[in-house]
C-alpha cells in the first residue's frame, strides 16, 4: 500500500504514470528499465536494488535467492511468468505451450498510438509473446499446467490471446486430466480489443465450467495487481483462491471508486488481507511457501 499506482495507466502502456506524475517539471528522456524478462536472468551479481517498501538495499542476486521477496520486510516484488515457472516447476523444467498464439489489431484501434504499435513496443520491451504464458511441467512430482500473466506486457491486459491461451490450457487439462493453475497479474481488460476482450470473460468461464464438470482442480493465484475483467472471471473462480500477501485485488480500480463516491478509501482497502477478511480468498500464501502449499493441495485433490 506504500505507493499509489495508477493501474489504468499500465493498460495504456504508460508504466503507471498518472496524470499527476506526468506533469512533473522534469522529464525522462530515455525509457525506464529496458531489460526484457528473458535477459534479466543474467543480471550481474553486483547490481543493487532497493525495496520500495522498506528501502532495504540488497543485491539482485540476494533478492533472486529470496524469490524476489524482500529479506527484511517480506515485500513481494512484482515478477514475471518466467520467474514464477522457475519457482514452481521442479528443476525449472517445463514446456511452454501455445506461444505462437499472437495478438492482431483486428479492429484497427488507435488512441494516442495505434494498437499495432503498442504491441510492437511491448514485444520489444519485454521479449514476451503476450500478457500470458502457459507452461506444463511437474510441481513436486505432480503434473500441473500453469497460465501466468506478465504485467509488463500492456498491464497484463486481458485480450483475445489471453482468452485463447487459457481456453487451450483448459482443453489440454481436460485431455490429460492435469490440474490447472492461473496466476493473475492484470489491470483488467485490453480496451484496444473492445467487446472482444469483454467476451473473454465468458469464454474462459465456459472452459472453467467444463473443467468443473470433469472434476479437474483449478487453482487461482491472485498477485499484485488483480483487477477488472480478471477478477470478474477466472481469478475469483478457483476451487481454491490463493493470493500473495499485500497484493491489490479488486473489481473497480481505486481511482474510479474514489471519483465515484468522492471519499477517501480506507487504509488497506482491496489488499489481499482485506479481500480474505471479506471471505473471497481461501489462503494468503508467501511466495516462499507457495510451492509447498500447492504440492500439498495437489496431493490432497488426487487422493
Amino acid at each position: 500500500m506504500q505507493h499509489e499506482e495508477d493501474f489504468d495507466a499500465n493498460l495504456a502502456g504508460e508504466e503507471g504514470q498518472s496524470e499527476e506524475t506526468r506533469s512533473r517539471w522534469f522529464k525522462r528522456i530515455k525509457k525506464g528499465i529496458l531489460t526484457s524478462t528473458a535477459e534479466k536472468k543474467e543480471a550481474p551479481d553486483g547490481l543493487w536494488t532497493k525495496c520500495p517498501n522498506c528501502k532495504y538495499t540488497c543485491t539482485v542476486l540476494e533478492l533472486r535467492e529470496h524469490l524476489f521477496v524482500c529479506p527484511k520486510c517480506n515485500y513481494h516484488h512484482r515478477i514475471g511468468s518466467q520467474e514464477y515457472f522457475e519457482i514452481l516447476f521442479d528443476e525449472n523444467r517445463y514446456e511452454e505451450m501455445f506461444a505462437n498464439v499472437r495478438s492482431i489489431d483486428f479492429l484497427g484501434f488507435s488512441d494516442l498510438r495505434p494498437y499495432s504499435k503498442r504491441l510492437k513496443e511491448a514485444y520489444a520491451k519485454t521479449g514476451l509473446h503476450d500478457s500470458i504464458s502457459v507452461g506444463v511441467g511437474k510441481l513436486s512430482g505432480n503434473d500441473l499446467v500453469v497460465a501466468c500473466m506478465d504485467f509488463n506486457f500492456i498491464g497484463g491486459s486481458l485480450g483475445s490471446v489471453m482468452g485463447e491461451k487459457i481456453a487451450r490450457a483448459a482443453d489440454f487439462c481436460l485431455e490429460h486430466n492435469f490440474p490447472l493453475m492461473i496466476i493473475s497479474k492484470s489491470g483488467g481488460a485490453r480496451m484496444m480489443e473492445s467487446a472482444f476482450s469483454l467476451m473473454q470473460l465468458a469464454k474462459t468461464s465456459g472452459k472453467l465450467a467444463q473443467l468443473a464438470d470433469a472434476r479437474i482442480p483449478y487453482i487461482s493465484l491472485c498477485t499484485d495487481p488483480t483487477y477488472g475483467g480478471t477478477t470478474a472471471s477466472f481469478a475469483m473462480l478457483g476451487d481454491v483462491n490463493l493470493a500473495e500477501p499485500s497484493a491489490r485485488i479488486g473489481f473497480a480500480g481505486p481511482r474510479v471508486i474514489k471519483e465515484t463516491i468522492k471519499k477517501e478509501l480506507p487504509l488497506g482497502f482491496q489488499s489481499s488481507e482485506f479481500v480474505m477478511e471479506h471471505g473471497f480468498l481461501a489462503i494468503i500464501v508467501d511466495r516462499k511457501g507457495l510451492k509447498d502449499r500447492l504440492a500439498k493441495l495437489l496431493v490432497l485433490f488426487k487422493n
Binding site: 469483454l198 465456459g206 475469483m236 473462480l237 482497502f269
Partner: protein
C-alpha cells in the same frame, strides 16, 4: 403519438423539436378556435416529424448511439416487461444481504411461455434514479439475478434478461461484498444453465456489469444501444488521458449494434420505432416481443445438453488472434 407529458430532446434531435413545438402550438390554437380546421396542417407536420425521425436515426454516429441509449425518455426494463407480458410477479432479494433495486426480476407470462425476466432498472425521475442507483447493481443485485435464474432452471422456464447499465457499481461496499466474484459467478453459472437464456441489450451495455446477466444462447441488441468493454468516457480518460475524446473513443471501440453483429458477438438487431424507442413505447415493446417469441421457440427446440454445449462453443469462438512464430504485427 405523445404518451409523455413533456418530451426531452437531445442536441441532434432539435430539428424534430421545432416541428414538434409547431404541432403543439397548432393544437393549442385549434382548441381555442374551433372554427378554423387545423387538422390538415397538423397532419402534414406530423408527417414531416416522422420523416425527420427517420432521417435522424439513419445517420447516427457511434457517440450519438450512446446518447440515444441514455435518452431521458427511453423506456426501461419494467416498462417493457409490463407491455410484453402478463401476470408479472416481481421477486425480490438475494437472500444474503438485501434487495438491490438496480436489478429487478420475476416470473411472467410471455406469449404461451412462463419466463423469468431479469434486468437492470433505471429510475424515471430524480428520486427514482437514486433509488435505482442509476441502474448500477451491487454484488447483491447480481446474486439476486442468479438466484432468480437458478429458480427458473429448477422449474425449467426460459430466462429473458434485459440489459441496461452504465456498469456495475464501483463502491467500497461493492468491493467488500465481492463485486468481481459476483459477476464471475454469474458468468460461470449462466454459461451452463440448462434452460434457454435470451439476453437483450435494451439500453447501455457497459462491460462486466452487462455481461453479468449477458451470457445467453442468443444475445440481441436493440437498434439504439451499445455494448462494449468500457464506457467511451472512461476509455477516453484512460487511453487519451482526457475526458474530451469520448466521441473518438466511441468510434474506435466499434460499439454499435451493427458492428457487434458484424463481429459475430451478438446474434441480431431488434429495430425500434422511427426515431428511437422513446417515441413509442408500445410499438418498441411489440417489436421486442415478436423477436423474443421467435427466438424462444427456436432455442427451446434444442435439447438441454446440446444447448449448453452450443452456448459454450459460441463464446469459445470469440476473439481474434493468429498463429505465428515471430513478433511481427499485422493490422
Amino acid at each position: 403519438m405523445p404518451e409523455l407529458k413533456q418530451r426531452q430532446f437531445l442536441e441532434f434531435e432539435k430539428p424534430i423539436k421545432e416541428l414538434y413545438d409547431q404541432v403543439e402550438q397548432l393544437r393549442h390554437m385549434a382548441e381555442k378556435n374551433q372554427k378554423v380546421d387545423y387538422s390538415n396542417a397538423i397532419q402534414q407536420l406530423e408527417q414531416s416529424i416522422l420523416e425527420k425521425r427517420k432521417e435522424i436515426t439513419q445517420h447516427l454516429t457511434a457517440w450519438q448511439k450512446v446518447q440515444m441509449s441514455r435518452h431521458p425518455d427511453r423506456p426501461y426494463t419494467l416498462s417493457y416487461i409490463k407491455r410484453i407480458s402478463k401476470n408479472f410477479v416481481e421477486l425480490h432479494g438475494d437472500r444474503h444481504v438485501r434487495d438491490d433495486k438496480a436489478m429487478v426480476g420475476g416470473f411472467a407470462q410471455l406469449g404461451g411461455h412462463t419466463v423469468m425476466f431479469v434486468g437492470q432498472q433505471k429510475g424515471v425521475n430524480t428520486k427514482m434514479r437514486t433509488m435505482r442507483n442509476f441502474g448500477m447493481a451491487n454484488p447483491e443485485g447480481y446474486r439476486k439475478a442468479l438466484r432468480l435464474m437458478k429458480l427458473a432452471e429448477k422449474f425449467n422456464k426460459p430466462i429473458v434478461t434485459l440489459i441496461d447499465t452504465p456498469g456495475a457499481f464501483p463502491g467500497i461496499e461493492a468491493e467488500e461484498r465481492g463485486q468481481g466474484e459476483a459477476i464471475a459467478r454469474n458468468i460461470f453459472e449462466m454459461i451452463r444453465l440448462k434452460v434457454p437464456v435470451i439476453c437483450v441489450i435494451i439500453g447501455e451495455g457497459a462491460s462486466g456489469g452487462a455481461l453479468g446477466i449477458g451470457v445467453g444462447d442468443r444475445v440481441l441488441m436493440m437498434e439504439n444501444t451499445w455494448y462494449t468493454v468500457i464506457s467511451p468516457e472512461s476509455c477516453s480518460s484512460i487511453l487519451w488521458r482526457s475526458w474530451d475524446m469520448k466521441e473518438k473513443a466511441a468510434e474506435e471501440l466499434k460499439l454499435t449494434p451493427e458492428h457487434m453483429l458484424k463481429f459475430g458477438l451478438v446474434d441480431a438487431i431488434i429495430p425500434e420505432p422511427l426515431g428511437g424507442a422513446h417515441w413509442n413505447y408500445d410499438e418498441a415493446a411489440a417489436i421486442l416481443k415478436s423477436h423474443l417469441l421467435k427466438v424462444i421457440e427456436e432455442v427451446k427446440a434444442i435439447p438441454a445438453e446440446e444447448r449448453v454445449r452450443q452456448r459454450i462453443a459460441k463464446f469459445s469462438k470469440m476473439g481474434f488472434w493468429e498463429e505465428r512464430e515471430e513478433n511481427e504485427v499485422h493490422g
